[in-house]
Symmetry: C2
Subunit: 432 residues, 2 copies
């Protein structure tokens, strides 16, 4: 029989048509929320109770673009021109990454993400079996994929593609369903067209969604036009990607026509404001995308270009920067920014049963400690979460009904060991 427990005296952030806050009760049965509302639910007599006083319960944050292992390179090169940073700092170090390094970096990242209230993350990298192991052990939910750069001979291309397919077959649906897979060519500028099309075919064969980087920099868009005669959105449309459910990372540089194509094909966008600002890639046209009905979610990207994995910070950046840049103080209101970090995140990674607090949804949620100065006065909790709160306020985290963080400490991971091994892995990379 699955565990049944009841939160009482709680304040809950909901995304209902006419309200965003419910004061009362939430019932969790096994891995699922079975009730949320003002009244004590029927069937709760035999449930364990949890006193929610002083806590704000909200859906867990969903990080829809990243490379967790790159936290091993946090602070190893900042404030540099993109190409110098990549060629002199990132690529030489990443070329040395072993499976053990990916495990160590991913564990460091998952620890940080869980403690900061992220309950689902997308990861596109190499040595993905290691990432899946960390997901199994930690209890977090994840959408995983072997990201493939195709700038290599055909036999190496084919081998990488085979790895991506094998990973998806092996891991999709594993870890009590917490792991799902996607198919991910790295980008249109790193995968030649005929190679990119093989990923579309694989996604069709496996009936999985697709993910890729697109239009992060202006130079990349110009290159696409030079190489293929069209801008990246048309290029990916031509390659058949949008016949699959698709998620694009970055999408900073878009024309109106490109936004229309994305909207017409239900293509989702992972907006990465922190990374786009830090790398000086530009400011994505988020209000225009949202205005056309495109699902826009939020990602941190890797910690080498962010430099943390704090999704509440991305939510705040999404709410702030588009106002400042557009001159419109009503752009990306607080509730919309919060949905980008949660509900739209779930839609972006094609998970139907997480991203909001409602009966029938998976019990992926977090509790913030509101008994603090910056949550006062009690005016508008959605505003406080978006404009005032921080990852410091995350007190508890549950995924699939299991508590993973309690009073700020991770219950499933050995924090001290993970920190030590991450430092050792970095020193090993430097020494090799």
């Amino acid at each position: 029989m699955s565990r049944k427990w009841l939160i009482k005296n709680g304040t809950f952030v909901v995304f209902e048509q006419d309200r965003s806050i419910v004061q009362g009760y939430m019932l969790v049965e096994g891995d699922t929320i079975s009730y949320i509302g003002e009244q004590l639910p029927e069937g709760a007599e035999d449930a364990e109770t949890f006193d929610g006083k002083g806590l704000l319960f909200m859906p867990g944050l969903i990080n829809t673009h990243g490379h967790a292992a790159m936290s091993l390179l946090r602070g190893y090169g900042d404030d540099m021109v993109l190409q110098t940073w990549l060629q002199e700092k990132m690529w030489p170090m990443e070329a040395k990454f072993t499976a053990g390094d990916v495990y160590a970096g991913t564990a460091l990242s998952v620890l940080e993400m869980l403690k900061g209230g992220t309950t689902t993350f997308l990861d596109m990298y190499d040595h993905m079996d290691e990432v899946a192991k960390v997901v199994q052990q930690s209890g977090i939910r994840a959408v995983l994929m072997r990201g493939v750069i195709g700038l290599c001979p055909p036999d190496v291309q084919q081998q990488k593609l085979n790895e991506a397919i094998a990973f998806a077959k092996n891991w999709h649906g594993q870890a009590d369903g917490r792991i799902t897979a996607m198919i991910s060519p790295h980008g249109p500028y790193t995968c030649p067209p005929e190679f990119f099309e093989k990923f579309v075919q694989a996604a069709n064969d496996l009936d999985l969604p697709m993910h890729t980087h697109m239009s992060e920099t202006r130079a990349e868009v110009e290159q696409n036009v030079n190489d293929y005669g069209v801008r990246p959105v048309q290029h990916l449309l031509n390659l058949g990607m949008f016949s699959r459910p698709s998620l694009l990372a970055h999408a900073v540089h878009l024309t109106d026509e490109e936004i229309d194509i994305l909207a017409a094909h239900n293509v989702a966008v992972s907006h990465n404001p922190g990374s786009n600002l830090k790398l000086a890639s530009g400011v994505a046209r988020v209000p225009a995308l949202l205005g056309k009905g495109v699902v826009v979610s939020l990602g941190t990207d890797g910690a080498a270009s962010n430099n943390n994995l704090d999704m509440l910070e991305e939510v705040r950046l999404a709410a702030l920067i588009h106002k400042g840049v557009s001159g419109d103080p009503t752009a990306v209101p607080a509730l919309e920014a919060l949905k980008m970090g949660t509900e739209y995140g779930a839609k972006s990674v094609f998970l139907a049963n997480t991203g909001k607090l409602a009966a029938g949804m998976k019990a992926d949620f977090i509790a913030l400690n509101t008994e603090q100065a910056h949550f006062l006065p009690k005016t508008d909790y959605v505003s406080h979460v978006v404009y005032s709160a921080g990852s410091k306020d995350v007190e508890h985290v549950w995924v699939n009904g299991e508590q993973l963080v309690k009073h700020g400490a991770c219950l499933t991971l050995d924090e001290e060991r993970i920190r030590r091994e991450a430092q050792e892995a970095f020193e090993g990379l430097l020494a090799r």
Copy 2:
């Protein structure tokens, strides 16, 4: 005899020509840092010791523009057009503020600032005696001034000016020197020229620096040109303000010529990135100002337009947004952003003896807990503070050599009472 204590095993952020990190010792005698360096200093034999292992010591953050009492209106109106927000939300409530409300709101803000690592704040508001009382009680350092809006009959103008002068006379140098005063007409668009000039005269008479709002919005600049035939910088120059040491808040909309005038007269600027973004005021030309040698520091503005008082967040925004908007990833590097939040903050409010860790400086400093995932690997602590850390990491805070925050708890303020009274004050404002 003043207390003498020694931090050992510490990692210290310094702003020396050739290095920004010192590993070793810091000696504090009374309210002053007397040594910092790798070697155990002479004369430290009889000092109490403090083990700095796992902590990063850095100068306390300096918030150079704000209205602390406005935290009572946090979340009371967001995502609105500026004039609607002011006229329908802020001004009607602020008109009801009593001295008791200012005390309650300021205490709430000082509590939040101290716990977030701010050791000095500038405050421009009304009922400033109440603000000074909170400063006395809390142990924080502050630069205080009665901010005067002159859109009123001459007798009321004169009364307000008298209040501003009396406040400065009464409080400058009080609280063991932790309080200093400035003279502050609210802005060129709220103080007619002949009234503004009286503040310049008062500042001359009292030998105090001046502070005002300037060029926060484009509309305000256009109004200045319409009313006086010149842009705000020339207008303030004409009124004699820059004959005094001066600090301008916001300065978002500036021409090259205006930047040259500010540089020529050593006028400092308080950049308020969070508030400017949220109110959609625009993005200040910070790289251009820094390039011309203008001292640029950071402020939160009031919590109604931010919506927190987290200076590490302002440091991060300053480092991020100018890269994203300019397209230059080397704009406002990490160390420069950190100095804006500390060393340049001290210069902006004309305090010669705080803002950095060095022998002879006041012992205003904070310690971050670096034994956390997001401080790894140990690559570059300045980068980690600016791009990865948050107010959650502030473990200890000292001002004038006195510890005010210990393991995240404020030693000098009754947090529970302050939170309760702030909520009651807000409810009282709603009810009146």
